[in-house]
């Protein structure tokens, strides 16, 4: 009798394995949506399927996408950073002043990255040393950092950037791909390896799953979180270099409201806001999805604020729909 039972179980297991996990995963669902949106875009506008349109479209999301990569790690360890857009503004302001003082490109870039990293460290120290929830810390620093740019700039703009500085935001690699996009792809691969193939990545998941257990298995939880917050700051600095270079000027309203877009990218990518799960592959696909939706709507002349409605709806529905399905399944079973 028992043998038959085990056999049955084995058969069940084999049957279940017929559908590889990958097909029912979040990433494949996203990829499917990307394809659908891509096809819809082709119908929506005759200008969409042009290599130049596609290449230019990448400029829209590359800067945000670069911040989304480390932010995904922060959200995996159960923290959040909503001050990202303000960090971009502050680093851009710092770069503007260096450029005004006649600094060369290297100095400008280094200052941008240092200011970004310092902002990240500031967030991280408040979260880890004083044990304050990151949402409150970053709500505070969000207005603090942006407020400092308002104090420094008021209603003026900085625009004394050297001409060669424009390459980071406007340059092309192989005369077709935007420099920003290539930089994003390289960073995405690095983050994939970091999160999925290294001890650092495993520790990130461990902390996100259960910080107490992670602490008692010898992981320095607060140092790890501090590193992640600094990493977000550094990447905000990098994004600030690209954005400033693309726009050619710094105003206090630079990158206003980006945090919504960036957090949507991460959550849409399947990273649980409760921590512990999510992959870089998912985040990257979600970034492409959002990029395609934005381009499609842009080709249809949809105004930006309406796009933000659609992004908001996407953010809520991608989390709600799978849950509704589960509920429905649950009900039909009983």
């Amino acid at each position: 009798m028992e043998q038959i039972n085990t056999q049955n179980i084995e058969i069940k297991a084999i049957k279940q394995k017929k559908i590889p996990d990958w097909f029912v995963s979040w990433e494949s669902f996203l990829l499917f949506t990307v394809v659908v949106v891509f096809i819809l875009n082709c119908f929506a506008s005759p200008y969409f399927l042009d290599p130049w349109t596609l290449s230019d479209a990448t400029f829209n999301f590359s800067e945000k996408a670069i911040i989304a990569l480390p932010l995904a790690l922060v959200i995996i360890v159960r923290e959040i950073d909503i001050s990202v857009a303000s960090i971009v503004a502050l680093s851009s302001t710092a770069m503007g002043f260096v450029a005004q003082a006649g600094g060369d490109i290297v100095t400008i870039c280094i200052v941008g990255m240092i200011v970004g990293t310092l902002c990240g460290i500031f967030n991280g120290l408040l979260v880890t040393k004083l044990n304050i929830p990151s949402i409150v810390v970053t709500i505070g620093t969000m207005s603090l950092f942006r407020g400092i740019t308002y104090i420094l700039l008021g209603d003026t703009a900085l625009k004394d950037y050297p001409e060669s500085f424009a390459y980071f935001g406007q340059g092309y690699v192989f005369s077709l791909f935007g420099f920003e996009f290539i930089a994003f792809l390289i960073l995405a691969v690095i983050f994939y390896i970091l999160l999925q193939r290294t001890n650092f990545g495993r520790r990130t998941y461990a902390i996100g799953n259960n910080p107490t257990a992670a602490y008692y298995s010898g992981i320095n939880v607060s140092r790890h979180k501090l590193i992640l917050f600094s990493l977000v700051g550094l990447f905000c600095g990098i994004a600030a270099i690209m954005l400033t270079s693309r726009l050619g000027s710094t105003r206090p309203t630079i990158a206003l409201g980006w945090e919504l877009n960036i957090i949507t990218m991460v959550v849409l990518g399947g990273v649980s806001i409760l921590g512990g799960s999510g992959t870089i592959v998912g985040v990257v696909i979600a970034i492409f999805l959002m990029g395609l939706v934005t381009v499609g709507l842009g080709l249809l002349n949809v105004p930006g604020i309406v796009m933000s409605v659609i992004i908001g709806l996407m953010l809520i529905s991608v989390i709600a729909i799978p849950k509704l399905f589960k509920k429905f399944k649950h009900k039909t079973k009983h």
């Binding site: 880890t128 949402i135 505070g140 942006r146 107490t212 919504l260 409760l274 849950k323």
Partner: protein
Amino acid sequence: MNNLLKNREIQLAIVVGMLLIIIGLIIPDFLALSNLLGVYNDTSILIILALGQMLVIITRCIDLSVAANVALTGMVVATVNSTYPELSVPLIILLGASLGTILGMINGWLVWKMNIPAIVVTLGTMSIYRGIVFLISEGAWINAHQMSDSFLRIPRFELLGLPILGWCSIIVIAAMYYFTRHRQLGRKIYAAGNSPTAAYYIGVDVGKKQFIAFSISGLLAGIASYLWISRYAVAYTDIANGFELQVIAACVIGGVSIAGGTGTVMGCLLGALFLGIINNALPVIGISPFWQMAISGGVIIIAVIANSLSERKPGRIILRKAVQNAS
């Protein structure tokens, strides 16, 4: 005496008092009764919204969509008033209050039934509500001359030196005080936020309490929207943009813990007054309004640092939590 000083509300009241004295030393006129009433009147909307936000934060959630709710409800209220000027104002307020409640209920329902973290829900609805304002107004403004006379005049009507607007906030404060201290539902909201597991085992539906907190926050936003529109006599898409940060800041300064379960009406009121006094005093002292944002950010951070340092040590825990001693 020592115990009295340890009380958060009293500490905060002392800080607010000291702030007033410092400003009074620079500009004595600031402390004139009529000016103080003016400052209070100016802070009224912030107080009303902060009290709603307090309930939401007590249940361990956060409502980032309040300002967008004010904008959307306000735009609807203004549109209705400009299209049907003969409609009586109480009816319009009722419309605003119910629409605000519905918007709050949408947030609450998504948190309760869909189990989506409040920050994700309200981050989404924040941009959805704000976008809908643009869609219904098509980007156009509704100006004072399009609004009816009674619509604009009622909140300005002075009673004992304080406009109706100020009295509205006093009524809301009294109602919230009664609700949070003396009603079973109010106490259950605290229970749900303090320890959801324990609340569940004594028969409190935690999700439902979160839903109720969001609905009340929406109701107050609906009422505030009418007050806002009639006070500033203009409605446009970007109205109250970023005001949610001020509202949350008022709560955090007032000692409402983001971890849930703590926060009082008095604290919240003092937090809002603190911000209101700073906002009103800055231009008088001659500091550029560009400083306002950084100052409110800095104040939030100082307040949360003060909170975390003064937090009472919890009871005996055998295994200490990672975040508490990992340093």
